[in-house]
Amino acid sequence: MAKVLLIEDDRETAEEVVADLRGRGHEVQWADTGPTGLDLARDRSWDILVTDRLLPGRDGLSVLQDLRSEGVRTPALVLSALSSVDERIRGLRAGGDDYLVKPFAFAELAARIEALLRRPAEPKETLLRVGSLELDLISSTAKRGGREIELLPREYRLLEYMMRRPGQTITRAMLFQDVWNYNFVPKSNLVDVHIGRLRHKLDGPGEPSLIQNVRGVGFVFSPDA
């Protein structure tokens, strides 16, 4: 599916990640040090880089900084055991596109990689349409079939975020970070309750559900027809 370069110094972790990503159909190469990772990453054939933050000899962030200064724009996901907000900001500033704190669920990693691979284009369209659902970005109104759906501002933003990523797994943490802009650890059922409300509004009697739960991971917004 995609060519992934993993830079990770811990063999056990790397083996697990490689096995999981291969299982999901990705082609993965593993580099165990910063310098070898940097050399491999310069070859621009990768679809995505996944790099550890702390590497012996060469820090993952400095590898990223070098790549970015050389004009390598391959999307990069930083893995780190450092969880503080400042570390996250530093990781993104160094050229990372996303930052995932260890330990993580493989489903979360896979969802993040998928999100980076399928980044939505800059919004130009004024109408989003997924299946029978329409979202008018000018008038901020939603319609399913012919039925108008009233949305609160937060629900509107939640829906817009999901509609831009149809068929893609969206984790609770992603929603919390991107829709709510919160940096702290979400209480997992908070997001579920908001999604539950939105789903209730979207699905009329007898209509199939547009938002499906992905067990243990999050949600997926998929067209009904």
Binding site: S83, S84, V85, D86, I89, L92, R93, P103, S140, L152, P153, R154, Y156, R157, W180, N181, Y182, N183, F184, V185, K187, N189, L190, V193, H194, G196, R197, G216
Partner: protein, 482 residues
């Protein structure tokens, strides 16, 4: 031995000795100078007096000089009267001393005089006066007495120098030894402290001197360190307990499944449960690290002015659906008009969210949670009230301590760190957090947020604070996302 030279005591002794020696020397120099000056002035006075007396009556001058010279038994007086052509008329000087002005001022001169039939070069204090008839008169006295005085003084110095120096050194040693003794007693205690016996304290002898004040200060510091160490130990025990509990369960469950599980489903159940317990453990670690991060105060740089009111509405909006699921009525009551404070809005949001999360968690179905923002004595006060079971008076201070959970709460999910995070965030902002009884019997948490004196009243709309309009008038500040 070389360590002796490094000790403060030695340096002090040396400095004290040097100082007293220099002081003695300076005093001696002063006395020496005054004594010599006095002796010379005595001579000057004498020769001037005699010159004036002799000059007063020009006809008598020669006679008066002769009389003065006759009184001299030790050949220390010299005087002469010179005719206008320079010839000596009377007295014991053979010639008029070259270069001596006839102005009636005593000066030091060197000239050859006849003493016991011999020509001797003699140092004299001399004065010359010109008489009305053109004659000149010289009166002089030798400086032997002054020289004698000088040598007596120098001998006295030589005699006194050694004892003075010795006494100085002794004084220095005694004073330094005294200081050294106090330092030694402190050192002895410090050695014990460094070995880890934190219950020892520096000696305070009650004199109230600098040493005492210093020791007292260090003792206060030690008490604080001991208290913190105890707290850390307590926290360590709590963490160990809270980590071990789920890990022990996890281990037991894995072991049991390894031997006992018979179907794929059973294994999957075990694994799912194991993941839940692992996540609990990890959440605990994250929360502990989070408190550490907040307490390190590294985030003060991100402080900026922002308005509490929209933030409070946002928290309510976040929790409203969850509350509704439990049939809890959530209300927001904002009466403070201008609630701009300086701080990290993300952290304050987190603190309030934790309070609301708690309130929703502990309020039974059909209850109510009230968020309030009032102004009390000029300071905005955020309040979160619930209709839950409340907290007993004696436990109210405890709830903000790490890992504290009121006993009946133990069955409710949570790691007991939510309120510790609130307390850490409040402390970082110099805000006060407290818990009182709500009118309905539940809990009322209050976060008193005094405005910092330099807070920009209009700051929420100013530079730095980025606000995101959410379309319904909700405004909140957010750090720029990178």
């Amino acid at each position: 031995m070389h360590s002796l030279f490094k000790t403060t005591a030695f340096r002090w002794a040396f400095a004290i000795a040097l100082w007293s020696a220099l002081l003695s020397l300076a005093l001696f120099a002063f006395v020496y100078w005054r004594t010599v000056t006095f002796a010379r002035e005595q001579l000057d006075h004498m020769v001037l007096h005699e010159a004036q007396f002799a000059a007063a009556a020009p006809a008598e001058s020669a006679h008066r000089l002769q009389m003065w010279l006759m009184e001299d038994l030790h050949s220390v007086r010299f005087a002469a009267l010179f005719a206008p052509d320079g010839r000596p008329v009377a007295g014991n000087l053979g010639y008029f001393p070259a270069g001596l002005p006839t102005d009636g001022v005593a000066r030091r001169i060197q000239m050859t005089v006849q003493l016991a039939g011999q020509s001797v070069s003699e140092e004299l204090r001399a004065v010359a006066v010109r008489l009305d008839d053109g004659q000149r008169l010289v009166v002089a006295h030798d400086l032997d007495e002054v020289q004698r005085g000088r040598s007596v003084m120098m001998r006295a110095l030589a005699l006194a120098a050694a004892p003075t120096l010795l006494l100085s050194i002794l004084g220095g040693v005694v004073l330094a030894a005294q200081a050294r003794r106090r330092v030694s007693s402190v050192e002895a205690v410090l050695a014990k402290l460094m070995r880890g016996d934190l219950q020892h304290r520096l000696p305070v002898n009650g004199t109230g001197d600098e040493f005492d004040r210093l020791s007292a200060g260090v003792n206060v510091l030690l008490a604080e360190i001991e208290r913190l160490m105890d707290e850390v130990r307590g926290v360590g025990d709590s963490i160990a307990h809270d980590l071990r509990t789920p890990l022990t369960r996890l281990r037991a469950r894995l072991e049991r499944s390894r031997d006992g599980a018979r179907s794929i489903e059973e294994f999957q159940q075990t694994i799912d449960q194991a993941l839940v317990w692992l996540d609990q453990t990890l959440a605990l670690i994250t929360a502990v690290l989070r408190i550490g991060e907040i307490e390190h105060e590294r985030r003060r740089a991100a402080f900026q002015p922002f308005d509490l009111a929209p933030m409070l509405r946002e928290v309510a909006e976040l929790y409203e659906p969850t509350a509704e699921e439990k049939a809890i009525r959530m209300t927001v009551d904002i009466s403070a008009r201008d609630a701009v404070v300086t701080g990290d809005c993300d952290l304050i949001f987190e603190a309030v969210a934790n309070l609301v999360d708690n309130a929703v968690k502990f309020t039974p179905e059909g209850g109510a949670v009230r968020l309030g923002l009032q102004e009390v004595e000029g300071a905005p006060v955020i309040s979160v009230e619930d209709t839950g079971p409340g907290i007993p008076v004696q436990e109210r201070d405890q709830v903000f301590k790490r890992f504290y959970r009121s006993a009946p709460e133990r069955h409710i999910d949570g790691n007991g760190l939510g309120l510790s995070i609130v307390a850490a965030i409040a402390a970082l902002h110099d805000f006060t957090v407290r818990v009182v009884e709500a009118p309905g019997g539940g809990c009322r948490f209050e976060l008193v947020c005094p405005r910092s004196p330099d807070a920009d009243r209009d700051g929420g709309r100013g530079r730095g604070a980025r606000r995101i309009g959410t379309g319904d008038g909700l405004l909140a500040c957010r750090p720029a996302r990178t």
